[in-house]
Amino acid sequence: MRGDFVPVAPAVISELAGVVGAPNCISEPAALRTYECDGLTSFQTTPGAVILPASTEEVVEAVRIARRANLPIVPRGSGTGLSGGALPVPGCLVVGLSRMRSILEVDLENAWMRVQPGVFNLDISKHLASAGYYYAPDPSSQSVCSIGGNVAENSGGAHCLKYGFTVNHVLGARLVLSDASVIDLGGPVLDTPGYDLIGVLVGSEGTLGIVTEVVVRILRKPEATRTFFATFPSTDEAGQTVSDIIAAGIVPAAVEMMDRLAIVAIKAATGVDWPDVGAALLMDVDGPLGEVEHTAAQATAIAAARGAIEIRRPKDEAERLLMWKGRKSAFAAVGRISPNYIVQDGVIPRSEIASVLRKISSLTAELGLRVANVFHAGDGNLHPLILYDASVPGDEEKAEHLGGEILKICVRTGGSLTGEHGIGADKAPYMPEMFSEADLEAMWQLRCAFDSENRFNPGKIFPTPRLCGDRPGKYVPTRSELSGEAGRG
């Protein structure tokens, strides 16, 4: 899907350049194309202009100028998102936060840190490593994704099963609103009196304002981590193992599952010496040593009892990291076994894993496609990777259709349209599958309380364009929503 290119008026460009400096104000169509999509490359729109501000003050000035010129504003971090959350709209101003990459303050005693939004997720933990602290949410893209983007998407990662998501680890933020005012939400001290606006901001996909500073909670590293990698004849035994481990009262730090095709892809891409099996689990338990020794032994015994073919324990940290590297590179690895693929993200109740995987597999077979499954098994967050060949006529449409069907299965089994990639532009048409008109209307009022001009990141989350109006109005569904045929993009 591609939107039209609508340039921004030269007078506005020169005003913006005056604020951020000419090298940080991009308006040449060729250069703008760098910003035409995020990690979801099937959606592309060249923005009207891009600026790369260096401070909150510059962001404020830019918002003021954009508002006068009535430009939509699309905030952008590293552009690694997978839902088109940073997809420009025609004629918009993209505000890229990648130059705001300073660590502003670290307070180890009180376990928080203040950073600019462009700081990479992993750089926070690297900065703290020598002191023995870290930042818990660990999306697979953590070496390049920005903390501002994580705030927008409420990013998760493998270890959020035990530790929670971005929203559980962000204590405060500085936010530039559409009227160019600056507010601080939350902060290092807990329980600021008033509504939990920081909780609302995290996961709002850049629709409420531009985050220019983030206060994150940092954690002391656990004393010990035990990892095991277990292989199984099929995803049935692997899924049952996960259920049994959790029923035994163990809260693993992470439990990841990969099916046969995913294992093949990861082997091809990374050279890990994993066997050809129907499914594999990669699991971490962490915490105080005594606790971890106990839970690791118990979990291993459960895997064996459930028919594990082989159980490997890494002999050292290097081998452990290699195992995790295999898992974290899974998305890209699929490129080794298929010319094109779609990364899907949906959630199902954990107890439905086996039945949903069977449904996906039969749908896939009907369409003559292949799906590799990599997922966070502990919390039922599926990442089906739908393999197709764009050079085969009709294949891409089939793949997109399958992606949509998988989402509907997730919602119908009591799950969610997205566990960590966000709704963005990609899944906005599917929101009525999960939420009623009244639900969406309530969410829209929340958005209007922050940005009544609908200036920030229009076209995301909500299936149809709406206005805030002076007074809250009744939400009127479109015809396609009423007929239940909301289609993709």
Binding site: I183, G194, G199, S204, E441
Partner: protein, 410 residues
């Protein structure tokens, strides 16, 4: 006014205000119809759960109607295998715990008045207890919600899976909103396993600086207590309770290691037996609930030494004073009975000024009326207050729901 509603009596008075009508729906549909009826009449409407936090926030000047959730107590869905539960807002935490215990699971929230506090009330008031140090507060465990809006329509946010980023986070918006945006109808929570064992250890006496050092020591040693609570009665040093939970191997090992650390420092440590531990935590809960004056304070954990003189001054203005400090969180509770109201008000105002300077806050959870009017319940409003006002306007344009109770007169 509405079939089934009754006239309010003095027994229904809420901070001195008697509601004209009181209604206790037995279904969510009835609740929605009642909210809608009050909207048609333009009536102000208050929400009441287990009545454990009625004194939190400002008095509502004129209260046309009160909706009590005490009959909305159904467990809508409990899936032990997925470790999630959905229940109606009027269910008490105690009753929920009984149902979950059959599967050795629990909702890891432990506010005082466990047997009376309702799920809806806990969400609305952001009530929490000592286990917050490990499991977070209600915002961290609430994964889905349904809310009856000011016009009576019921809306949902979140879902029933732990991992879910679809749409705006209405559950978070409702946490701590004190009934000013809508009536919490049902709530879905993430559950945790009941631990195999728990053990409480007591540092019988330490100063504020020793307390800070203790917290640092715990972190350096990578010990992971689920609760660290310091108790002081007159500002003359703390008694510190540390609780470990988990599998026995882990709990025993952590307790032994802590004992060694304390010994090396020349500081004491008692291991409480089960009865003594239960008594200590019961005493803690009672201290949280006792007193005509109860104030919640928030600061950074490391601020304890600098704020202690003001806290001590406040304690000296009270009889039966207690100060509970959740040392790893930076949250505390001062409670007691004012000896002389003006002195207490002055001490509160001074403590609040200092806390606000440090980026923290002091909120009255209960106070005699003269103290409320002198000091104010909430303190200065947050920098984001304008957005909060707009949020109220968007969700309750008639300003009917718990009007004036919340921050800044919202």
């Amino acid at each position: 006014m509405f079939a089934g509603a009754r006239r309010g009596t003095d027994a229904d008075a809420w901070l001195g205000t008697v509601p004209r009508w009181v209604y206790s729906p037995s279904t969510l549909e009835e609740a929605g119809d009642f909210v809608s009826a009050t909207a048609h009449e333009g009536m102000s409407l208050g929400f009441v759960g287990g009545s454990t936090e009625l004194e939190l926030g400002a008095a509502i000047g004129k209260l046309d109607a009160v909706l009590q959730t005490t009959r909305l107590t159904r467990i809508v869905e409990y899936v032990p295998a997925d470790m999630i539960v959905t229940a109606e807002a009027g269910l008490t935490l105690g009753r929920l715990a009984e149902a979950l215990a059959q599967h050795r699971q629990r909702l890891a929230l432990d506010p005082p008045a466990f047997d009376r506090a309702t799920l809806g009330g806990i969400i609305a008031a952001n009530s929490f207890g000592p286990r917050r140090a490990r499991f977070g507060t209600v915002r961290d465990l609430l994964i889905g919600i349904s809310v009856i809006r000011a016009d009576g329509t019921r809306v949902r946010g979140g879902g029933k899976v732990v991992k879910n980023v679809a749409g705006f986070d209405l559950p978070k918006l409702m946490c701590g909103s004190l009934g000013t945006l809508g009536l919490i109808a049902t709530a879905t929570f993430r559950l945790h396993p009941v631990p195999e064992m728990e053990r409480t250890l007591l540092v019988p006496s330490c100063t504020a600086s020793q307390l800070r050092a203790l917290i640092s020591r715990l972190k350096a040693a990578q010990l992971e207590p689920v609760s660290v609570v310091a108790l002081s009665h007159r500002g003359e040093g703390f008694e510190v309770a540390l609780r470990f939970e988990g599998f026995s191997a882990g709990v025993n090992e952590q307790a032994a290691r802590l004992a060694k650390l304390q010994q090396a420092q020349g500081e004491g440590l008692e291991v409480l037996d089960e009865a003594a531990a239960q008594a200590w935590w019961k005493g803690h809960d009672e201290a949280r609930l006792r007193g005509a004056l109860r104030a919640k304070i928030a600061a950074l954990p490391g601020h304890i030494e600098s704020i202690l003189p003001q806290i001590t001054a406040l304690q000296r203005s009270l009889k039966n004073a207690s100060f509970l400090w959740y040392a790893s969180l930076g949250l505390g509770f001062v409670a007691g009975d004012p000896i002389e109201l003006e002195a207490t008000s002055r001490a509160l105002a001074q403590a609040r000024l200092q806390l606000q300077d440090l980026g923290g806050s002091l909120v009255l959870q209960a106070a005699p009326r003269p103290v409320r009017s002198t000091v104010g319940e909430w303190g200065s409003v947050a920098p984001a207050f304008a957005v909060m006002q707009r949020m109220k306007e968007r969700f309750d344009p008639g300003h009917r729901l718990n009007p004036g109770r919340f921050v800044g007169g919202i």
